[in-house]
């Protein structure tokens, strides 16, 4: 069972690393399922943080994918990253009492312009202005203007993976601002 998962994940990952988008997305989806189980088991009291951690690790796996050594057990590599992010989570939890807010809240705000377009847009801009450029610009270009990640990267001069990180971290920060926690 474990062996099968390892070899299946590895196949998807290897093809994905070569630049096959669909396979890479399937790898990340299966990985997310696996990580959800891992974190649920370790954070039974903090169910709300599980999805957050899953996303954090997916992002970390994506950004560190060049450090996987061919031949190394893929699950060992993934779990080392998951453990590292979990330790980070416990440290932050000990400091703040609670980790960041679920990201869905930010998504709702970005969807809000349907209801009261002008008002919501002004509020959103106010919030966006508080973000650093590396998070604000990716959100404006990708999430509001609907550009692709690579177009946004070209426009801002950032790397594509920096744009992706910016969108993710920026939405997270927005959610926290909306709740007034930061």
């Amino acid at each position: 069972m474990l062996k099968r998962r390892e070899s299946r994940l590895l196949d998807l990952f290897t093809v994905g690393l070569a630049g096959d988008e669909a396979t890479y997305a399937r790898f990340l989806t299966e990985l997310a399922t696996m990580l959800r189980g891992y974190f649920r088991h370790r954070l039974p009291q903090q169910a709300g943080d599980v999805e957050d951690l899953v996303q954090e690790v997916l992002l970390a796996v994506h950004n560190a994918r060049h450090t996987y050594l061919p031949g190394q057990p893929l699950t060992a590599w993934v779990y080392a990253i998951a453990r590292y992010k979990l330790a980070d989570h416990f440290r932050a939890y000990a400091r703040h009492g609670a980790l960041s807010e679920p990201l869905d809240a930010a998504q709702d705000v970005l969807a809000a312009p349907d209801l009261e377009p002008a008002q919501a847009k002004r509020d959103l801009n106010l919030l966006l202005d508080q973000l650093p450029d590396r998070q604000r610009l990716p959100i404006v270009h990708v999430k509001l203007e609907g550009l692709s990640v690579s177009e946004a990267a070209q426009m801002t001069g950032m790397s594509e993976s920096a744009v992706k990180v910016g969108v993710h971290r920026g939405l997270k920060a927005l959610a926290a601002k909306i709740r007034g926690t930061r």
Binding site: G16, L17, A18, G19, E21, A22, Y24, A25, L28, T29, A32, E51, V54, Q55, L58, L59, A60, H62, N63, A64, R65, H66, T67, Y68, L69, P70, Q72, P73, A76, W77, V78, Y79, A80, I81, R83, Y84, D88, L103, D104, A106, Q107, V142, S148, V149, S150, E160, K164, V167, H168, L171, K172
Partner: protein, 213 residues
Amino acid sequence: MKTDDLISMLATGVPPVDRHVVSRRFGIAVATGAALAILLVAMTLHVRADLADVAVTPLFWAKVALPLSLLLGALWMATRLARPGMPIGACWPGVTAPFAAVWLGALYVITQTPAGERAAAVLGQTWRVCPFNIAVLSVPAFIAVFWALRGLAPTRLRLAGAVGGLLSGAVATLAYCLHCPEMGVAFWGVWYVLGMLVPTAIGAMLGPRLLRW
């Protein structure tokens, strides 16, 4: 953001991954660090005048062997620490055996030295400046090695910082061999080691802060 949205964002426009990033980053770091350290030796300390003469003696190469073996051991360990989930147990002899060897050699030399001259054998002529010089020479390599590590994915930050520091110390000591006139094993066993432990300790201290990702 929903996890599915994150996944589709991450998977869009992924370029094929470069397999040699780890070795390339460390290669650049060690080469840059060594070049700058040698340049510093040549400009501020001067290369020892009798280098060509001592370069043919086995004792000179025994001296070079200490930082060189530590450089290789630390480099190997650092490249493994830069990848998540790599066991590093087999790396420990690489970064400890050179110390053990130089201390055994030093002990032997000391026992062969008459009691009255032992202190002089350990202190040499330059013990006051040696660790300081090595620590200063390690600065460029230290910055370069931390740059290399920051682009990778160490998960044991304090250890990665320490080994990165040791690597920069070994690079610096290797360059310092071009200048240092000391030819006593006991001297190397104390002052070279001390000089290399300075960046090692600083690396262990700064690792958790500088290498977080």
